[in-house]
Amino acid sequence: MNSEKFQTTTSSQKKFAGHWPVAIAEAINSGKQLDRIYIDARSHHKKIDEIKALASRDNIPINYVPAVKLDSFNITGHDGFVAQIAKVQYHDLQEVISFVVEKGETPLFLILDGITDIRNIGGIARTAFCCGVHAIIIPEKGVGALNEDAILTSAGALEKIAICRVNS
C-alpha cells in the first residue's frame, strides 16, 4: 500500500498512519514508529492477526475500542483500524544501555511507573535531562501518546533524551 493512503486529520492535530490495515502493516514494516493502534473491538478482519503480531514484535500498544471511538477520529472508511504516528522516537532499552556503556559513561536511567499525565512526563524529562539521565523508561500501556503537549512541556528535552517503551 503506498503513501497516498496516509491521511492527516486537522480537527485533532494528529497524524494517523493510514486507516486500512494493509497501510498500517506496511507502515510498521517500513520502520515507521507508531504510538498506538486502535482496533475496533468487534472487527474480524483477516489482517487482524498480522497487525497483532507486528505490533507485538515492535512493542506497539493496541487498544480495542468501540467503533464510535474510531469514528471520532474523523477518518472516513477506517475499516476498524486506526494507527497514530509517534511524535517521539522510541528506542530499544538494550541498545541504549550498550550505547551508553560503549561511550564510557555510567548509565543513569529513570523508570516511570503509573505516571499517566503526559505533561508531567514532559516536566520530568526536562529535569532528568538536566541531571544527566540517559534514558527514560515508560511502560507500553497506561501512558498516553507523547504528543506535542508533552514535547512543549519538556522544553524539547523529550527530543534529546532517549525514551524506551517496554512491555510492562
Binding site: 538494550q94 543513569l108 503509573g114 524506551c164
Partner: protein, 60 residues
C-alpha cells in the same frame, strides 16, 4: 518489570522511590550504573515492581 530484569542483567542497580524509605537520596552513590523508579503521586510504585528493586530511597 521486564525493564528492571533487563537492567539487572546488565549490572545496573535499581532504586525505588518511596516516601517511607529509610535511606535518603543524598546518601546514595550515583557513580555506579543505576536506575531510579518513580511512581505516581497517588498510588506510588506497583508493589510487585517495588519488590524486585534493589533499594528504596526517599526523595526528601
Amino acid at each position: 518489570m521486564k525493564a528492571v530484569d533487563e537492567l539487572h542483567m546488565n549490572g545496573i542497580k535499581v532504586f525505588a522511590s518511596e516516601m517511607k524509605a529509610a535511606k535518603n537520596i543524598f546518601d546514595c552513590n550515583f557513580k555506579e550504573p543505576c536506575a531510579i523508579v518513580a511512581g505516581s503521586e497517588e498510588k506510588g510504585i506497583y508493589p510487585a515492581l517495588l519488590k524486585i528493586c534493589d533499594e528504596k530511597l526517599k526523595f526528601l
